[in-house]
């Protein structure tokens, strides 16, 4: 009988927790991943995707632990490779709905190659990338989204590199759906994730989030509340952003749906390939039979 006896979970979220899992989770107090996890569960509940149709797939990192807590089939895989496993699952059984939980390091560094190709193929899956600008699980090293000059366990003199814009990358690779939310605006995140889940094709949601334990501590924002406020103060909705000058948009990032288009989805196109192959095979065999082979 454990640490948690009160009702810390939203009733909907509670229903989606894996019942034989012992809590608490691995996440730090105040971590944004819990907020994002709850938003995902609420979105799934609202759309009513059957639990048995979902496979949550992840790689390695803090956010990649999420599938262990959810009451779905789960694949906790190797670092950066979640999208490859999800591709196999989706293509093998197209009625399944892979949901990939990943982080900035997992998705964009070690998994960068898989990310661009999964987006390019437009294979139907939902990818939620928790962007906390750091490698949390290994102790706070700089990642492909750590801003220039920021501090981390491996950039003690300030980060030399420049960060990716993950949404621009996903758009450039041809993803069907690209959106950005924050862990601060949790209810808006529900809606963005909901739209991503309903999209047929590669749907990518970047969630700007916080790791106060490491990124915050290295960069003079050691509390979760401070970092949530930073998210609030630096995000601008896509509709509003178009009306602001570049000067006003300096130090800001855009949230909302950034790309939404209907393009052919991989597994659906492959079904047509199967039809064509079967037809040609039947014709060839009919001809062979005519010749008495």
């Amino acid at each position: 009988m454990g640490i948690i006896q009160t009702k810390p979970f939203h009733p909907v979220v509670y229903d989606y927790l894996r019942k034989n899992k012992i809590f608490p989770s691995v996440w730090c107090e105040g971590c944004s991943i819990g907020i994002i996890f709850a938003a995902l569960m609420r979105a799934i509940y609202r759309i009513q995707i059957p639990k048995d149709d979902i496979v949550m797939v992840s790689g390695i990192g803090c956010s990649s632990r999420a599938p262990i807590y959810a009451d779905f089939c789960a694949m906790h895989t190797t670092h950066g490779r979640a999208l490859t496993f999800a591709t196999g699952i989706k293509l093998a059984k197209p009625h399944l709905h892979p949901i990939v939980m990943t982080g900035d390091g997992d998705c964009l560094a070690i998994g960068g190659n898989h990310f661009i190709h999964a987006a390019r193929r437009n294979i139907d899956m939902t990818v939620i990338m928790v962007n906390n600008n750091i490698y949390g699980m290994t102790g706070g090293q700089y990642s492909p989204t750590t801003p220039a000059n920021k501090f981390s366990a491996t950039s003690p003199y300030g980060n030399v590199e420049h960060p990716f814009d993950p949404c621009e990358l996903a758009k450039g690779c041809g993803a069907s759906f690209v959106a950005r939310g924050t862990s601060y605006a949790a209810t808006e995140l529900d809606k963005l994730i909901g739209r991503a889940l309903q999209k047929k094709g590669f749907a990518f949601v970047e969630v700007v989030s916080h790791c106060h334990t490491l990124y915050g501590r290295f960069n003079k924002m050691p509390s979760a509340v401070e970092m949530l406020k930073w998210e609030r103060d630096h995000s601008v909705n896509v509709a509003k952003a178009t009306k602001l000058s570049p000067e006003e948009m300096k130090d800001k990032f855009v949230t909302g749906v950034l790309q939404d288009r209907d393009i052919p989805e991989y597994t659906e196109v492959y079904e047509q390939v199967i039809d064509r192959a079967r037809k040609r095979y039947a014709e060839d065999h009919a001809t062979a039979a005519d010749r008495g082979e």
Binding site: D52, V55, C73, H76, R81, T84, T87, G88
Partner: protein, 385 residues
Amino acid sequence: MTQKRKNRLLQGNEASAEGALAAGCRFFAGYPITPSTEIAEILSERLPQLGGKFIQMEDEIASIGAVIGASAAGIKAMTATSGPGFSLMQENIGYASMGEVPCVIVNVQRGGPSTGLPTKAHQGDMMQARWGTHGDHSVIALCPSSVRECYELTVEAFNLSEQYRLPVIVLLDEIVGHMREKVEIPDFSEIVLYQRRKPNCPPAEYKHYGPGTSFLAPLASFGEGYRFIVESLTHDENGFATNRPDEIAAKMQRLKDKIELNREKLIKVHEEECAGAGIVVFAYGSTARSALQAVRDARREGIRVGFFRPMIIWPFPEEPMKKAMHDAQVVIVPELNQGQMRREVERLNPGRVKVTGVEQVDGEMMVPQRILDEIRGANRTLFKG
């Protein structure tokens, strides 16, 4: 209308692809690499004809990832590659081992290390097949010598993989992969297949990694109502990551016992006249063809020489090989590497046997004459001594 057995002129790679289809493989993910590419090309055409799926991934890491994902979703799946690609796959082969996901990897060996010799033969990945991924783990590897065996052993690879819930590696070499021979192809209906056993317990009682060492337990697939975890971290029976020493030890024992407790079932050897022979030749893959020729020529000269060829090379057939070398004073191990399997034979040496290697790493096949010369030389020493 039942199909009759068909005689076909096939290449080793082609036979391996056809064997996979016969075994029920309906998913292939791969990346182009010489000398294995024919397998991908054939399956890209054949799989959709049977309702199966083919995908060309961005690299070999992704290929094996997709294969493991498809298998966990309940479809028999395979990939094919060669040395450099096999190296890239190693981490996820370890994942299949830890997660206990059946899958088949065909490795058509070429010259190495690094990019090496893309179009030339080598048997340099024998140890990588056994120990390529990090950590202790269990693996099964098969080694065909003929086109017919490429077909049969690929079927066998799927059966063993499903049964033992682990990755199974089929080690062709460039010569076997590209060689053409007449093969009698049986009808699909004649092939004995091991079908994955499905659980029938209520979902709440299902343990994906349990119970105990009964690793031949039923295996659920995604989307069937059993909400299990395939876990890469060391885990308990439910698939939950663990740091408890007793649970860690149990998992590691389970991975080991899969093979250790079933060694006698995992023996598949071709042996000729080893009893009473003072000389035994141990060979595998393409080299075994030259070796068998040399052994038969030597016997015609009156030399008592035995022949031993493992078709399942991992787990190493320790007991049968010990028996085969019981009367021998010399064991000759010809191979297209610098002595990888020779050391495995040496480990079984009771002390009185001289184990000699015949190494060749120049990219060419080993001709029977080289092995015959070695047998004659050994025979002369025996009679002098």
